[in-house]
């Protein structure tokens, strides 16, 4: 894949929605091959952060992709550098999985042009990789929630961008498919040097896969750094209002367990 090892950097990002500040001075940095998990309670501003990085919202501050300010990039150029999968994608019920995934090749197709054979091959290969090949001819209206989520991921991967922004890529997936999707993203970023930024609610999964973590609450950065420094009992208690126990697994990665306030009798 192209331009592997692209760094994304966000400096002092501020976003206001309906004149209400939703993000205030958030910053992050992730280099090629790195996986950054953005965590925080509901409404913290995680999705807003990804959307602003993608240039979908008006924002103040800077987003640098490979050292270049994202707002100076032409739309197609930016689309070749960054791919984005939204939390609640719109999926027209009568498009087929293949047609939908193929749309991810848009940044490589001239404005009124059509896809090349290469575009179709890339699409086929990604569907294969995501275990979706048998569904290629199925319409989106006839997929399960988890299948839809994988199809959205496929569309983003087909874009072959070195930076991948995924908003809650695993929420609708069963245990096996969560693991499968995260393993796939993990392999891609290690093999191709992709920079991965995901928002994710499952702190256990985040702890297992991410290298670094950004914890935001109320639109502000409250902690960032290596996973072990962010996934701590006091921080989680303060910002999620949750009682958890954080232990270490044999490889040194944090394990997060919920504890019932009143232990079962």
């Amino acid at each position: 894949m192209s331009a592997a090892g692209t760094t994304v950097e966000v400096r002092d990002l501020c976003v206001a929605l309906d004149r209400r500040p939703v993000l205030a001075g958030v910053g992050l940095s992730a280099s090629g091959g790195e996986w950054l998990a953005v965590v925080g309670p509901n409404g913290a501003g995680k999705s807003t952060l990804l959307r602003a990085m993608m240039g979908l919202l008006e924002s103040e501050g800077e987003v640098l992709v490979g050292g270049v300010p994202a707002r100076t990039l032409k739309p197609r150029r930016r689309a070749r550098l960054m791919a984005y999968a939204p939390q609640t994608p719109l999926m027209p019920a009568s498009l087929t999985v293949f047609e939908y995934t193929l749309l991810g090749r848009t940044p490589y197709i001239s404005h009124l042009g059509r896809e090349s054979r290469h575009d179709r091959e890339v699409t086929g290969a990604v569907l294969e990789r995501l275990d979706l090949a048998e569904l290629a001819g199925r319409t989106l209206g006839r997929l399960s929630g988890g299948e839809r989520q994988r199809v959205v991921l496929a569309r983003a991967l087909v874009q072959q961008a070195p930076v991948l922004l995924l908003d809650e890529p695993t929420t609708a997936l069963d245990l096996g498919h969560q693991q499968q999707v995260l393993e796939l993203v993990d392999r891609l970023r290690l093999a191709d040097g992709l920079t991965v930024v995901t928002t994710i609610h499952d702190l256990g999964l985040a702890g297992q896969y991410a290298d670094s973590m950004l914890l935001i609450a109320d639109g502000r950065t409250v902690a960032s750094g290596p996973v072990r420094e962010v996934l701590t009992e006091p921080l989680l208690a303060r910002h999620f209002g949750a009682r958890v126990r954080v232990t270490e697994d044999p490889t040194g990665r944090p394990l997060v367990n919920l504890i019932r306030p009143t232990p079962p009798v």
């Binding site: 959307r51 993608m54 240039g55 979908l56 032409k74 739309p75 197609r76 150029r77 930016r78 689309a79 070749r80 960054m82 791919a83 984005y84 939204p86 994608p89 719109l90 999926m91 027209p92 019920a93 009568s94 498009l95 087929t96 047609e99 939908y100 749309l103 991810g104 848009t106 940044p107 197709i109 404005h111 009124l112 059509r114 319409t139 006839r142 874009q159």
Partner: protein, 331 residues
Amino acid sequence: MALAVALAVLLVCVLAGLMTGAAGIPAKGVVLELADLLPFVSVDSGLSPVEQGLLYQLRMPRVVLAAIVGGLLALAGAGYQGVFRNPLADPYLLGAAAGAGFTATLVIVLVQADGLVPLAAFAGAVGGVMLAYGLGNTAGRGGGTATLVLAGVAVASFLSALQAFVQQIRVEQLQRIYAWILGGIGGDWSQVWLIAPYALVSIGVMLAHGRLLDVLSVGDDEATSLGVSAARVRLVILCAASLATASAVAVSGLIGFVGIVVPHIARRLAGGSYRVVLPLSLIGGAAFLVLADMVARTVLAPAELPIGVVTAFIGAPFFVGVLRATRAVEP
């Protein structure tokens, strides 16, 4: 595949349309006459000069005009549905019908020059849409599609009120006004030439944007993240579709049903990609209206039914039939 079938259907409809009519022209003569038009083919049709005149000056322009109007309306409908991401959007959604109705009534009542009605209707349709678009964009910041539709509703009811007002000034013209509103394919070559340039431009633009309409269908955010400006695609399609609607309205009045039903059937039969839905709607709409016009001028011959009545009358049952048939196929 679906396109080939649709083209064959259109061909059959056109042939049928040319063969039927008040004056009986031998069917075989019509076929031979058409064969004669093909390059490198020369046959004697055996039609008399009068019959030839009838065929070339009356039936043929009428069939051609019906095909163009039907194709334009269905294509415009498909375009509007793509822009608004709503299968129930129709070509008249943004005030094209009300605008055309108003200006056509104005001309019928005040100027009483029939030759001016198409131009007036065209201008009215374009004006209505522009008014709705302007209002929708200034009223709602960001110009969401919902605001646009609401602006269309406001503009349409305002212009309809104006139209009703003007029409009440000259009640004796009521029948002509209604005849225009209910739609009819007039049919001489001058009308064909009048709208052909606009038809060609709008058809070309719309068909070229099939893939981008697919991109638009996955959402503005995702279109943007794929490097496509959703607002620009939307504007281009709206312009082209409105041009198509205005051209159709100019020569045929208000013909309902085609713009919603035909794209819907196309989607049912050939899937949701606009790259197929657009050309299929164009061809299907043409075939449908040629057929409807044939019915309109033969059922009560020598009197004619308004074509808008016919489209609803044969369109509705047909539509229900398609809905039932395709649902039966789905698991």
